[in-house]
């Protein structure tokens, strides 16, 4: 799983630059889709709530005070191992605009027969 964070530098970009950046994401998804590595993905709206405390009695506006922490969306991809997943993540267009990718493995729970 790729979790995309930051890349808020785009906030100050021109319409032309935004469109071109969007094109790069689309091309990347397209590529992953063609190689059969793309499984699913969703963008996330900015903002959100952080619920904590017993019975959820503490609800705040989320921990993401800084642009670099904002999660913009996620992909589920299929790769042989973590190493291959990291290689794939290096092509993420968000990296060009100061963003980062968290690469995580989804745990497969083996149910004993």
């Amino acid at each position: 799983m790729f979790i995309f964070q930051g890349g808020q530098r785009m906030n100050n970009q021109s319409p032309e630059e935004m469109q071109s950046h969007m094109g790069k994401w689309m091309a990347w998804i397209d590529k992953l889709n063609k190689t059969g590595q793309y499984v699913s993905g969703e963008p996330l709206l900015p903002g959100g709530k952080l619920v904590s405390g017993k019975n959820g009695n503490s609800v705040t506006d989320g921990p993401y005070t800084e642009g670099k922490e904002v999660v913009g969306g996620y992909f589920v991809i299929s790769a042989r191992d973590l190493k291959e997943a990291v290689e794939i993540s290096k092509e993420c267009p968000g990296l060009e605009v100061g963003g980062s990718v968290q690469v995580r493995q989804v745990m497969k729970i083996e149910v004993p027969a």
């Binding site: 785009m10 906030n11 970009q13 021109s14 319409p15 032309e16 630059e17 935004m18 469109q19 950046h21 969007m22 094109g23 994401w25 689309m26 091309a27 998804i29 397209d30 889709n33 793309y38 499984v39 699913s40 993905g41 969703e42 963008p43 913009g72 969306g73």
Partner: protein, 425 residues
Amino acid sequence: MAFVQPKETIQSTIDHLFRHESGKMVSVLSRLLGLQNLETAQDIVQDTLLQAMNTWGFNGVPENPPAWLYRVAKNKAIDFLRREKKFKEISPQYSYLLQSEYSLASTVNNLFLENEIQDSQLRMMFACTHPAIAEESQVALTLKTLCGLSTGEIARAFLTNEETISKRIYRAKEKIKAEKIELTVPQGVELPERLDVVLKSLYLLFNEGYNSSNPDKLIREDLCEEAMRLAFLLTTHGVTNLPKTNALLSLMCFQASRLQARLDDEGNIVLLKYQSRSKWHQPLIKRGIAYLEIASATPEISSYHLEAAIASLHASAPSFEQTDWKSIYHLYELLYEIQPAPIVALNKAIACAYAISNQSALSQLLLIKGLDNYYLYHTSMGEIYFGLKERQKAKDHYEKALLLTASRPEQQLLINKINNCEAGQ
């Protein structure tokens, strides 16, 4: 699973969509919120495009991209109105309708109808070229609000730094507030004068794109395209569709038809004489002729008429040698009568060299004052002296020109010419 396979790559289907729609939406939202809230309108548009970038990048482009953008921008505008309740500050024409929830949504919706969008852009053109705003700021403001260019892009197009452009735009916005400039189309006697300023700013915009010293070819062509798009918009509106508007658009079509032929594959300049005429864009030439015909329906003659007529003679000449230089020279003489500027005199002298002789062109060039720091003046002097076989004088002028241009292709061309002078000695 939300991923939708993009049908085609985004670049091919929606060239400059964000930029063009940004210009439209800023105009419409400024009309809704009042021009005094231009900044808010721009923020809403920026947010809208960011949202589009984030969701389309993941999920693919929606069926009707502009409609998607308008829907989001509308909702953001309505949110702003509800939240701020600053109805007194926004356009008096709409403040009454916007205060009631009942009429709010329909008023906003109506402004996003196609003909209203065009109307808003037209009003914005007049506002950006308001006489209270300095000429240098007018073009910058037009590019920012109507064409969706960022200050960085405008700065690159005009070979200046971002700070200069930011200041120009800032001063323009201050003027809008101080003079309470509104988004209106001028009426009555005011209209022709104000339209002249609009046309002139589009002419300057096009020229900057057509003959810019900017090495970045892409931005250069974009400026031409923007100027043509806005000039075309003027021809679609009753009050601004005048003969001179059509003449200006005709001129732009003819000049733009040669854009592809003016540079070779390595980006070097190809002079008119050596251009491959098959590379001239015929559909644009046809459009140029059509607009010139519309422009000539009345006896009124503007400088744009004469410039378009000159351009049409170049466009219709089968070869450089078969160009009707006599007619071109005559048209320049007429142009000089209504516009006795040194730059017109320079072009007239060049036409004279072909129509009459190098000698009489030289005597005209020597009379021109005020172009000593203009590289094309010295390039032309060099050409004429070269034609008169005075190679040393030709070389001196080419060298002066070389110091006066920052454009690499121009410099290369001049270096070639200087080498030619030396080879002949």
